[in-house]
Symmetry: C3
Subunit: 279 residues, 3 copies
Amino acid sequence: VAARERPVIGFLTDFGLDGAAAICRGVMLSIARDAQIVDISHTVRKFAIGDGAYLLRSALPWLPVGVHVAVVDPGVGTDRRPIAIRTKRGDVLVGPDNGLLLPAAERLGGVTAAREIANREWLLPDPSATFHGRDVFAPAAARLATGASFEAVGPELDTASLARLELPEASVERGRLATGVMYVDSFGNLRLAGGLVELRAALGEVEPGAGLILEIGAPGAGGRRWEHLRWRRTFGEATAGELLAYEDSAGNIAVAVSNGDAAARLGAGTGARIGIRRA
Amino acid sequence: VAARERPVIGFLTDFGLDGAAAICRGVMLSIARDAQIVDISHTVRKFAIGDGAYLLRSALPWLPVGVHVAVVDPGVGTDRRPIAIRTKRGDVLVGPDNGLLLPAAERLGGVTAAREIANREWLLPDPSATFHGRDVFAPAAARLATGASFEAVGPELDTASLARLELPEASVERGRLATGVMYVDSFGNLRLAGGLVELRAALGEVEPGAGLILEIGAPGAGGRRWEHLRWRRTFGEATAGELLAYEDSAGNIAVAVSNGDAAARLGAGTGARIGIRRA
Amino acid sequence: VAARERPVIGFLTDFGLDGAAAICRGVMLSIARDAQIVDISHTVRKFAIGDGAYLLRSALPWLPVGVHVAVVDPGVGTDRRPIAIRTKRGDVLVGPDNGLLLPAAERLGGVTAAREIANREWLLPDPSATFHGRDVFAPAAARLATGASFEAVGPELDTASLARLELPEASVERGRLATGVMYVDSFGNLRLAGGLVELRAALGEVEPGAGLILEIGAPGAGGRRWEHLRWRRTFGEATAGELLAYEDSAGNIAVAVSNGDAAARLGAGTGARIGIRRA
């Protein structure tokens, strides 16, 4: 049908569902009328840059190549820089320089260039100090989506200067995988750092049905607790209400309750320290 | 404008608002770039196949003919079949064979054919055991939306073999309509099985303002309770806070509180047994 | 690409996320297949016409000129009129005549004409008494979006006859701004009536960091309380957890907690009386 495909703009914020994201949508469509805006999430936990980074990096590999804008930005209006970064896959990611964009960029082949958004002709006139989603990020993303050159964004940045998050990591110990909760999804499943490779390195091959012990909390801390659970290939192999560990659809280890909410049952949230060993 | 209309894909899940639905959206748009994805709901109560089936059958008759994908799938990764079913209206419904799709198909004229999704060229490579929305249903729906033939889905299924839900039904007794709660909507209104035809068969003609008695709970059960309410044509005819029964916009009997939440007030949810008789 | 741009339809309701908005979307797309529907919000507090009016007027100035439909309609099915109003900017707003549309119309240059929706050929056959979103407003908006003339809507209305809301207003007193909460956003920020002009008229120039006193509750009422806070240009200038006042992105005075929820902390919601004076 089209001489040119409609440009895709992925869009993630912690703005909630009451209109701020719609204002940005309006700004983008006013500039890039034929853009296909793909909402990733607007219910990211408020101010939770790590949650936003996790969701963005989970989603973007599945979206078409495009310009993607993400705003979880507790430092709006301060001297944190507004940035656009180009990925090896060909995407441009737009948002605040607070660590939100880099994990996704790494999933898209890595950062090939970064620029500070400084083109005054691209910003809305008289930008506010509290809503750069509307005044800076949405218009910049829309300009790029209409085909404006990446070089026009503003001055080039040293990619080593970009802010990075400290995210939970998995480490392999003798007979134990030491990891942490990266994200709690809407089912209450705990998404952990590390995948099957790390689990096998720590515990050897793990067969479906194998018994495991989950440690919640850091060693030495008073609140450390233990739970029995089984390694499962999928939820339906467990009995309803059973605590289980599985390889999630992103290739990470995850903990769930079959037909239930693991985060609520375990009282564990993002950032919690987790250990896994054999029962 | 278009030589061909953009294909419509209706989309319903219990994935919540934090990115899993967006991943499926990305997969669909990567295959069917000009698809018009119409989100029906992604906040279906987790694992509640009946709620999903109710919402799908409520919505689809109002959407343009298209390919529609629905995923409420506690049995993902087990041997429940992934299916596509064709309706008399011309739609194709895609999802798990667990009863989710059939009530909607019946509203669209009935099932004319069903196939198991088994075309490996259509699936994402190396499908996961926990996210068939992304790996099976979204790509199959998108292929069909681009015009791929229904026959290419996979082997034909006997439609009598498809899984069916047990849904609440209305039965007419002497002076009493025995029914049940099919769904609690976001206003807290109780949507009941049966419509005006059944109510009239049980109680005779019911005029606006007529007094009724609502029985909540099954006969013989200790928790059975009674509430007075009035038959109303619309909410505004009731005083604020009044309990009322009305014919809802789908043609079913429903119970509401004017400017309030009937489910919270009555403590009644999906599946609750309800009786209605004259006061 | 397009001979004609896709028409934009802004869309706001209190229908929630479980399918009623999708039904309206389906109705609109069945009539105006190439419409670009821009969801503004569907989680407006139930029956809260004032909240809906606030969000609509906040969002519409940022959307492209179009037909916009809004439904927060506790009086559905009663004699409140269904209306379409034309704005000076060129938009048409569609919804119930209960005050929901007028504040947005004023932001779009004012009302230039109003008509009652009465064209039976535009309504769905046999309209329900409880779902005019589906049966009246969505089809009328879609017809207008396809280019139908405003005159075809129905009989002209005297714009002075349109229902108006009583919204909180700001008044300048000696050394005090008397105002009220217009809206609590999803961050818990209190959006107040009145802007910098009114604040300066009451208190003189207010520098970033200046100490203020916030009065919550009406004078004479037992529940009146006082809180210290500072005037800030943006959230990041405050310490985490600090109560602050700022000029919000719509040009109004607002009260926030840095990285927190002001409404929860202050126990203050829409309609609360607020006074601001110097510390």
